[in-house]
């Protein structure tokens, strides 16, 4: 491919790409993001290609391996173009039928989405409620693109924003547009991106750097991975525009090693962009030079904090540095550095293409545009969802997420990653944006969203996040290293039945010390405790009294067989791995509390029509029947 040297050549290239494509040619887009790959998408692709080859249909049907469109729960999934027919949970054995349906222009009913309420089958991707209630400005492109093909990206208007910014605008104008759009950093801080760009641009040192923060570390979050895997060129395009606006000629993409496919796709994207002249010297003939290098992190959570990331890039231990000075003034190798998260960079082409007003037309007063969340936990439709800022939590959990599986009761939704907070049912109608989430004692974070149902123990949940943070603390400052450890000790004691009166006050006192931490990891560490303590204090108190109401903390509940319900079916005794159930033919069964490991096998084994096995909060259970009173006398036999 010859290098593109001007706006005119770029226009010609786009025209050529578009003219070589027939929009009516059938194309089977198979999601090959990490989620669907784990569910066997690679085998599906092979099966489809083999079938096409066997039938000699190579010129008639295209198979495109794409990025993740978000509905990971139902993978492997495919979308058949031009009709946009969406099939879910497609197996390699379905390949033949899929090819036949493409040829015959029919629809395979059994692979369609079935609306759980109406029972109706939904043909088109956009009509599935999971997608219908989203606004997928960023990840919506994933299913349309082969991430390894720059032509696919060009065909949907890719790099048009780059051409517009570099060839038609001054750097200051680009900064102005981003400021005007109201875009705020998607990595967690929510700082206005345009202002951050301006600080870096105005820093006196002529050598500046731009960095993509792809060190996505929140447990259960994978928004950035999906963007890098599925739309690497969009991230890259945003970065090049940012570099131009800021005046940087060198950029870095810091991505965690645990994302091999993201590393592969972005590395290839950089190489291809260089070949086309979107990177390198004199980009598009604008006179602007810019190169990007991919750096892999070893997976330390704290390296997502920008000063720790910088140190890691410099080859030092990933420990945060005090701010100020901010990276915009003194960052990488002491040069002004602008660091934005993957999703922030991916929004830039959108702002340039559609204009700041269009971007800002979506969202709330203080938070513009869309936000991608990874919706996980006790919710029917797990996956990635991109929603307009200002949507309510209820809409995300119920309209998009489809509600709680098994008709269980909703308990809380956790946002903001490990240092975020939990919001109870009373806050479900809250509008989701940066400021509202912070006000509610949580935060936007990078977009993790974990739904919890009645069976989640909030104390144990808070303990999980503190254990994560204790493990991920860099250990530099005392309030974080020692403070989290002390809070964790208290919480662990509480979940193990060793909680004491006064523990809750001590926890609250410790949260004050966290505020003296060096970086956001330590400062945010009390959030999981504070927010659960605020909304679910009764659960903490119950634990201190020796009861776990959610039956999660093993030391704080017991299994018990109700004598009057036991029919001596012997199921539970046979399933118990600990030999903790005494019983026999025609004998009422009894749990030996000393032997019981609380695995719950007996509860599952007990036939629902008897429902004899129950759980009792606390350690005290009714005394077992004396052995001579355990014989079941059956009537009429």
């Amino acid at each position: 491919m010859p290098k593109i040297n001007s706006s005119a050549e770029f226009a010609a290239l786009r025209k050529e790409v578009l003219s070589s494509r027939d929009p009516n040619r059938p194309c089977i887009a198979v999601c090959t993001g990490s989620g669907c790959l784990a569910l066997g998408a690679a085998n599906l692709v092979t099966a489809l290609k083999d079938e096409i080859q066997a039938q000699g249909l190579e010129s008639r049907i295209e198979v495109r391996e794409t990025g993740c469109p978000g509905f990971c729960e139902r993978g492997p999934l495919i979308v058949v173009y031009p009709d946009e027919t969406c099939y879910l949970k497609v197996q390699p054995a379905d390949a033949k039928e899929v090819i036949a349906s493409v040829l015959e222009k029919t629809v395979i009913d059994r692979l369609l989405y079935v609306d759980p309420v109406t029972g109706e089958r939904v043909v088109h991707e956009m009509d599935i409620p999971f997608y219908q209630n989203q606004l997928r400005l960023l990840i919506g492109n994933n299913i349309k693109l082969d991430p390894t093909s720059i032509e696919d990206y060009l065909a949907i208007g890719g790099y048009a924003a780059l051409e517009k910014a570099l060839c038609q605008m001054k750097p200051e104008q680009v900064v102005g547009l981003v400021k005007e759009s109201g875009l705020r950093g998607r990595g967690g801080g929510g700082f206005p991106s345009g202002n951050k760009w301006e600080f870096t641009r105005n820093a006196p040192d002529p050598v500046k750097y731009v960095v993509v923060n792809a060190d996505e570390g929140d447990p259960g979050a994978f928004m950035d991975r999906a963007l890098l895997e599925g739309s690497p060129h969009a991230v890259l395009e945003g970065l090049i525009i940012g570099a131009y606006a800021i005046g940087a000629h060198e950029g870095f993409l810091y991505v965690r090693q645990e994302y091999p496919l993201a590393v592969e796709n972005i590395t290839l994207a950089i190489k291809t962009a260089e070949e086309y002249g979107f990177l390198g010297k004199n980009i598009l003939g604008s006179g602007f030079d810019f190169i990007v290098e991919v750096a892999q992190g070893a997976g330390a959570f704290v390296c997502g904090e920008e000063t720790a990331l910088i140190r890691s890039l410099e080859g030092k231990a990933g420990e945060p540095k005090p701010r100020p000075p901010f990276p915009a003034v003194r960052g990488l190798w002491d040069k002004p550095t602008n660091i934005n998260n993957v999703e922030t960079w991916a929004n830039i082409p959108l702002i340039i293409n559609k204009g700041p007003a269009a971007f800002a037309s979506v969202g709330t007063a203080g938070s513009k545009g869309t936000k991608i969340f990874s919706l996980v936990g006790k919710v029917k439709n797990t996956g990635l969802v991109e929603v307009p800022m200002g949507i309510t939590l209820r809409d995300i959990v119920y309209k998009i997420g489809g509600g709680i599986p098994g008709d269980k009761r909703f308990k809380a939704v956790q946002t903001g990653g490990p240092a975020g907070g939990c919001m109870p049912e009373s806050l479900l109608d809250m509008e989701v944006d940066f400021d509202q989430l912070t006000k509610a004692g949580s935060m936007m974070g990078s977009g993790g969203m974990i739904v919890l149902d009645e069976e989640t123990c909030m104390v144990d949940f808070a303990r999980f996040f503190l254990a994560f943070l204790a493990d991920e603390s860099c250990g530099k400052c005392v309030p974080c290293r020692e403070g989290i450890q002390q809070m964790l000790t208290i919480l662990t004691d509480i979940t193990q039945g060793k909680g004491k009166k006064g523990d809750l006050d001590l926890l609250l006192q410790l949260t004050e010390v966290s505020g003296a931490s060096l970086c956001a990891l330590g400062k945010g560490a009390p959030n999981p405790v504070m927010s659960t303590l605020k909304h679910f204090r009764d659960e903490y108190e119950a634990h201190i009294e020796g009861k776990c109401p959610a039956f999660t903390c093993k030391e704080l509940f017991s299994f018990y067989i109700e004598p009057e319900k036991c029919q001596a079916c012997t199921n539970c005794g046979r399933k118990c791995p600990a030999g903790a159930i005494e019983g026999g033919k025609n004998l009422i069964h009894v749990v030996d509390q000393a032997k019981c490991t609380k695995c719950g096998a007996c509860l599952e084994a007990c036939p629902p029509r008897f429902g004899a096995v129950t759980r009792i909060p606390g350690k005290a259970v009714p005394a077992p029947l004396p052995e001579d009173a355990r014989t079941i006398v059956r009537g009429n036999k």
């Binding site: 991920e472 530099k476 309030p479 020692e482 003296a516 060096l518």
Partner: protein, 209 residues
């Protein structure tokens, strides 16, 4: 270097641009407690005992005086009830490691800290980093460093370097506010006894073998 004026504990203080709050305060005799700070070393901000409140643009934040730059017109408070509570708790957390450290005992007296508030930890080290930083920044030998992270983080001599450099130096020893450094060194000594050529003391480890 231009000068700027800020307010510390109600007093107008003139500071050089680039100075830290700690330096600005000390220049007028306002004392802020420190532990991991050392005038020969780069500010570190590890122990946070020097935490002060800084008020700017209507917001009050707790920052480390040793690393935070003196800024124009900010209002700094070095003694408040909240800071006392924070310092007390920090000292208590460190005393779980080193209850008999002179420096900590001194601070404990000042802030009414209870050395037994938290469960005793096996390690004496409070991670002030004075030894590591001194060896790195002043001696430029890097004979010891931190390994691991979080609660598992500890200081460790690099045997290959320590065997050559430490015998004659040991300048880090008096810096350590606890006995952790000595403990780590003794451990290291056992595995790095130098060869007779480098080692010529009378301990019997090297010469004559």
């Amino acid at each position: 270097m231009s000068e700027l004026v800020l307010q510390i504990d109600g007093r107008e203080v003139t500071a050089q641009e680039g100075a830290t709050i700690l330096e600005a305060a000390e220049s007028v005799g306002i004392s802020i407690p420190t532990l991991c700070h050392h005038h020969k070393l780069e500010p570190y901000g590890g122990c946070r005992v020097c935490s002060v409140e800084v008020e700017a643009n209507g917001r009050t934040v707790v920052v480390a005086a040793c690393t935070y730059p003196a800024e124009k017109n900010v209002v700094v408070r070095t003694k408040t009830e909240k800071l006392d509570r924070i310092r007390k708790a920090l000292v208590e957390m460190m005393m779980a490691h080193a209850p008999d450290s002179e420096k900590l005992v001194e601070l404990a007296e000042e802030y009414g800290a209870d050395k037994d508030r938290f469960k005793r930890n096996q390690s004496f080290c409070i991670h002030c980093g004075l030894c590591v930083r001194y060896c790195n920044e002043v001696k430029k030998k890097n004979a010891l460093g931190f390994i691991d992270r979080g609660a598992k983080k500890r200081i460790c001599f690099i045997p290959e370097i320590a065997a050559k450099e430490c015998w004659q130096c040991k300048e880090c020893f008096p810096l350590c506010p606890t006995s952790a450094l000595q403990a780590a060194f003794v451990l290291n000594e056992a595995i790095t006894t130098p060869s007779s050529a480098e080692h010529s003391c009378s301990c019997g480890h090297g010469a004559g073998k």
